[in-house]
């Protein structure tokens, strides 16, 4: 069902944890949907110096947050912002269609964390895409 890459990141999730003095925190998801992702970033000179996260969700949600943490670490905020859910899914060698929503959570959590940082630094907020915009075919009844 899942690629080897997904299973690898699921079994050994990278960068798990919390950053107690984080510069930005993004939490997305809904326990009603069975998933919550909380991303912590540490920013220095516009670069994501460190990233940690906690994830409650299915195997692909855990793998998505793990690979996303690797993708944004060391990137500028602009670069990190551009990492889409598709990039997350591709980095995992693909996700089943019904699980694309887990990769969306990763994108959203990163965006929220970056905007949280920008807000606290009185920077203009960047525009986030909505969940429904990103995956149209997927229906959420919650």
């Amino acid at each position: 069902m899942y690629s080897e890459k997904v299973m690898d990141h699921f079994r050994n999730p990278r960068n798990v944890g919390i950053i107690s003095d984080a510069d930005g925190i993004g939490e997305v998801g809904n326990p009603r949907c069975g998933d919550i992702m909380k991303v912590y970033i540490k920013v220095k000179d516009n670069i994501i110096e460190d990233v940690k996260y906690e994830t409650y969700g299915c195997a692909s949600a855990i793998a998505s947050s793990s690979i996303a943490s690797e993708l944004i670490k060391g990137k500028t905020l602009e670069e990190a912002w551009k990492i889409t859910n598709k990039a997350v899914a591709e980095a995992l060698d693909g996700l089943p269609p019904i699980k694309m929503h887990c990769s969306v959570l990763a994108e959203e959590a990163i965006h929220k964390a970056i905007n949280d940082y920008r807000k606290s630094h009185n920077l203009e907020l960047w525009e986030e895409r909505t969940h429904a915009e990103v995956i149209k075919e997927h229906q959420c009844n919650n």
Binding site: F10, P31, R32, G34, T55, Y56, C58, A61
Partner: protein, 388 residues
């Protein structure tokens, strides 16, 4: 060596050797179409008759009341749509429960789109329907009550005899989906006043793709599969002789060891339940305890962890379990059964089902009790909704 412990017997079972032995000759030797008239067809004709007798004797029906189908889903669909279409002049109201298998629920939903109304009875926190609710729901338009014998996710055994009695009193047909029960617990359609009953071969060590609908003599039912004159004209299609033979043999063996297995599995089940609840905090057993729970069913929710995660972690450790029912896998929705017994979405998402069977040993249970707490601990540690 990597462990390989199957704990998903409610999803499907292997075909046991004695059953396979009995099936094999019907593929290449006695392969004739049982409806044929020549002597060569005698063997396959007799084989089907024997299977019918075996099934009838286990549920205490008459041989002519047993109709072979392609599985539990077809039996459920046939019962519900067949009664509806044949009795629509009498009424257009059907009663079932919120925790039925999707084969029943989705057949009912189809009927709702085609002129019928359906009442979905609620259940209490252990999954039991209330007789009073049923009594109140029956109107003079009601033609069918369909309540499952036991639930496939949480193991709740419904008050079938009482439902049967009530339906008889009210003159309403009573169908029960006994897919999780046949072969595992005693059933008596006569004393329980059951008019229609579904079963599926692959849930009791028979083959997949074959099932039974018991239809009490005199019950007015329309075909689901129209066509040839097989099964007394009620279910068309060339008989699946090997499948039918296998189902017959499997039900006979299951019956012979039933008492022994009920005791053995109940003990293993309770050891597993108690062990998990004791070793892991913030858990909840779904479904009742004791005799009103299927002997082989364990269903537990873990706060702060998602069920699919546990499934894959257990898979890595060589233990095969499920979250909810196999056929709902791949859906993002939490189980309708768990929501119906009042679980929050969160707890419903965090549940796994472990179902035991013939090859399950005490060592298997011990092994699960050893690894599961560690898995939970690891996943809770990374969960944003968990804090000790």
């Amino acid at each position: 060596m990597k462990k390989s412990i199957y704990m998903d017997y409610a999803a499907t079972t292997f075909v046991r050797q004695e059953v396979l032995d009995e099936i094999l000759p019907y593929f290449k030797d006695y392969y004739s179409n049982p409806s044929s008239l020549y002597s060569f067809a005698e063997d396959s004709k007799k084989a089907i008759k024997l299977a019918r007798q075996r099934v009838a004797s286990v549920i205490n029906s008459k041989e002519e009341e047993i109709y072979f189908t392609s599985g539990g889903s077809e039996s459920d669909n046939w019962a519900i749509k067949g009664i509806a279409f044949a009795n629509k002049d009498k009424g257009n109201h059907i009663i079932t429960s919120q925790i039925e298998h999707h084969a029943v629920l989705n057949a009912a939903k189809f009927l709702e789109k085609n002129g019928f109304t359906v009442t979905y009875l609620p259940v209490d926190s252990d999954g039991f329907i209330k007789l009073e609710d049923l009594r109140n729901a029956i109107t003079d338009k009601t033609i069918l009550v369909s309540i499952m014998f036991a639930n496939n996710e949480i193991g709740t055994i419904e008050p079938i005899s009482e439902i049967g009695k009530l339906c008889k009193e009210k003159g309403v047909y009573f169908h029960t989906d006994a897919v999780q029960v046949v072969g595992h617990l005693p059933i008596d359609v006569e004393s329980m006043n059951i008019d229609l009953l579904s079963m599926s071969g692959h849930k009791f060590y028979g083959p997949k793709g074959v099932g039974v609908l018991y239809v009490k003599k005199g019950v007015k039912i329309e075909n689901l599969i129209h066509g040839g004159a097989q099964e007394k004209g009620k279910r068309a299609s060339t008989e699946n002789v090997p499948g039918i033979v296998g189902l017959g043999k499997a039900i006979e063996i299951a019956q012979s060891e039933q008492n022994f297995e009920i005791k053995r599995l109940t003990a293993l089940r309770d050891k597993l339940i108690d062990g998990i609840l004791n070793k892991v905090s913030n858990t909840k057993l779904n479904g009742p305890t004791g005799n009103l729970r299927l002997p082989n069913n364990v269903n537990i929710s873990f706060l702060g962890v998602e069920g699919e995660t546990l499934l894959f972690d257990l898979d890595d450790a060589g233990v095969f379990v499920s979250t909810g029912s196999a056929c709902a896998s791949g859906s993002l929705e939490p189980s309708h059964v768990l929501l119906s017994i009042g679980l929050s979405h969160e707890l419903a998402h965090g549940s796994i089902r472990l179902t035991l069977g013939l090859n399950t040993t005490e060592e298997d249970v011990d092994y699960v009790l050893e690894i599961l707490p560690k898995i939970i601990e690891k996943r809770r540690a990374m969960s944003p909704i968990w804090s000790e």
